[in-house]
């Protein structure tokens, strides 16, 4: 065994497609590590995943990985139509990188996953799959959307089952990390949230990462799957959404009047990451995808 030289370790990043988000993430989603996105439903997790699978195909000079991606989805149905929509706008804005008849969707491999054991099976088959893909466009991004769905229904709330669940977490995450290291992949995992009920003490008040507590839609939440899974991921990002009432001044012929308009405020927070400071940024979801907003 020989020690690796630290000077030679470099980390590649996969761009998210938006310069503001990239700036927040210091380049994008890093390779050779597991990044987790935590949010309640409807916050934009799948949007980010789809966007990343498309932008991973960009050449390295433009922040991508020049690679295809493997998308493992657990919640049905897979949003094919949205992917197609994003694909069209991706193609039109990046036409010079791809030949005319090319379809970026061809380079996203989709696989549905039903249970945690099924996921483990798939992990063992992924090795030769990625190995083979090196001949054409290599796979450099694995997305699991979402990991929480696999675990939240299958396990009872007894210590034995919980222990089995935790050991599955560690197995899956160590397989993912081994894959990430071997093929220098970026791994993106999405997770759901659970509501925190009760006083803010003891285990309930446990703070993981930068934020004291996570708020979305006016509720206090915490990421699902608990402390064991939190130990398995390398970085965690949190998407929140809130309805805000904003005063909008409208100029009308008879003077100014104000309308109160409800706007959705979406924010992306860095909960913890080894290479990022505590930061957040606002974003919005449009037809073309997910983009940061500079205010």
């Amino acid at each position: 065994m020989t020690p690796q030289s630290l000077l030679q370790l470099t980390s590649q990043k996969c761009t998210t497609g938006c310069p503001i988000l990239d700036r927040l993430l210091n380049g994008g989603i890093p390779c050779n590590s597991i990044t987790e996105i935590v949010a309640e439903s409807g916050s934009g997790k799948t949007q980010i995943c789809l966007q990343l699978s498309l932008h991973a195909q960009l050449p390295v000079s433009h922040g991508g990985l020049a690679a295809s991606s493997l998308y493992l989805h657990t919640e049905f149905p897979f949003p094919f139509r949205r992917l197609h929509q994003l694909c069209l706008s991706f193609r039109s804005s990046n036409a010079h990188h791809f030949p005319v008849n090319d379809n970026p969707c061809d380079r996203i491999f989709v696989q549905s996953v039903h249970t945690a054991d099924h996921l483990l099976e798939i992990m063992s088959k992924t090795d030769p799959f990625i190995e083979n893909s090196k001949n054409q466009v290599p796979v450099r991004l694995i997305v699991i959307d979402s990991i929480a769905a696999l675990f939240r229904s299958d396990f009872d709330n007894t210590p034995v089952e919980l222990k089995r669940r935790s050991s599955l977490f560690f197995k899956i995450s160590s397989k993912l990390k081994a894959l990430a290291k071997r093929f220098n992949l970026a791994v993106l995992v999405t997770n759901q949230v659970v509501d925190l009920v009760g006083p803010n003490e003891g285990i309930n008040g446990l703070r993981i990462g930068n934020l004291v507590c996570l708020h979305t839609s006016g509720r206090r939440v915490c990421p699902a799957l608990g402390l064991a899974w939190a130990n398995c991921v390398n970085s965690r990002l949190f998407l929140s959404r809130n309805e805000e009432v904003i005063r909008e001044e409208n100029e009308k012929s008879n003077g100014q009047s104000c309308d109160f308009v409800k706007k959705k405020m979406r924010k992306l927070y860095v909960v913890f990451a080894p290479h990022l400071p505590e930061s957040s940024c606002e974003f919005e979801i449009t037809r073309e995808g997910l983009f940061g907003v500079e205010r």
Binding site: M1, L6, S166, F170, S174, I203, N210, N234, P274
Partner: protein, 328 residues
């Protein structure tokens, strides 16, 4: 061992004491030309003094080991040893205070780690009092929730151990064993740390002095610990081993719990042996888990009840807006 006991001339003794050298340890890390300059004597005289000093140091230790049982130490010697510990600073004055001066060798310490915000990159607090030139070794086990800064502390230690002797450091190299993540992003931090301390070391040198191993399974982990024996005998200047998440690979499906306990204790023992033989500090970073005891859930260090003979433990509690450290 005091200077007045050295077999040197009275004038030389007087010069030594007036220059501030009152114990043998202060002579241990000085070169003969510096000593000659300080005492205003010739270089050959200074070299003589140093030779005599090291000789008496050597004979002192041999006297100490002439005890009833081979390898036994008298309680007095042990007290001396404990008082004369070399410390590795954590770059945080408050944390150093909790640890009694810094990370020192010869114990298994488990720390619950708190205030990242306290890391002050200015003053290096160092206690450099070694009698007999012996260094003590310490074993430290640090546990905490994810995202609180355990790896940051590990890196800080790996960098701080390289502080040269002139600035009160150990001037040694570090072994960093990474089990959960790559250190690629940390290169930036490594470079930043030292610049602020105004020490004349190039960032490349700092990175070169850290031997970095990345392991992906528990078999690799055990194999590496076994290999470290040979590695350390080739690289004698390694002063600290940092293992990032020592229990990560053991939390997977280990069907046989007894086997896991045996393997873990074996590993801990090997590390302790390495620490004692090569006089180095060992810092283990651990994770926390929830302990289910009688319908209540508490935070506990992962796999902490198994194996380790830990002399100091700590649980990390991060509630509200501050992170706290607790020594247990």
């Amino acid at each position: 061992m005091e200077i007045w006991r050295l077999p040197i001339s009275a004038s030389q003794r007087g010069k030594l004491i007036s220059a501030g050298y009152t114990s043998l340890s202060s002579l241990s890390s000085i070169s003969s030309s510096d000593l000659a300059r300080e005492l205003k004597v010739s270089e050959s005289e200074a070299m003589n003094i140093l030779k005599v000093a090291s000789h008496s140091r050597g004979s002192e230790t041999s006297n100490a080991s002439c005890s009833i049982v081979e390898g036994a130490q008298s309680a007095w010697d042990m007290l001396h040893d404990e008082e004369s510990l070399m410390h590795i600073t954590t770059s945080s004055a408050d944390l150093d205070n909790i640890l009694g001066g810094g990370i020192h060798c010869k114990e298994v310490t488990e720390i619950g780690w708190s205030s990242l915000s306290l890391i002050v990159n200015s003053v290096l607090k160092y206690k450099l009092t070694t009698a007999f030139g012996s260094e003590s070794i310490i074993f430290m086990l640090i546990g905490g929730v994810p995202g609180i800064g355990k790896t940051q502390l590990g890196i800080q230690v790996a960098v701080n151990v390289q502080i040269p002797n002139d600035f009160g450091g150990l001037g040694g190299k570090a072994i960093y064993i990474a089990c959960i993540e790559d250190m690629s992003e940390y290169n930036r931090f490594l470079r930043k740390d030292f610049q602020e301390c105004k020490i004349k070391m190039l960032p490349q040198d700092i990175l070169e002095n850290i031997f970095y191993f990345r392991i992906c399974s528990y078999t690799e982990q055990i194999a590496l610990i076994n290999y470290l024996d040979k590695f350390l005998s080739e690289h004698k200047d390694v002063k600290v081993i940092v293992v990032d998440s020592v229990t990560f690979h053991f939390r997977q499906d280990f069907d046989d719990m007894a086997l896991r306990t045996r393997v873990l204790s074996g590993m801990a023992l090997k590390l302790m042996n390495l620490a004692k033989r090569f006089s180095l500090a060992v810092v283990l970073l651990n994770q926390v888990t929830t302990k289910h005891t009688e319908a209540s859930f508490q935070l506990a260090l992962a796999l902490a009840s198994a194996a380790y003979s830990v002399t100091a433990r700590g649980i990390r509690n991060s509630s509200s807006s501050c992170k706290r450290i607790k020594m247990m």
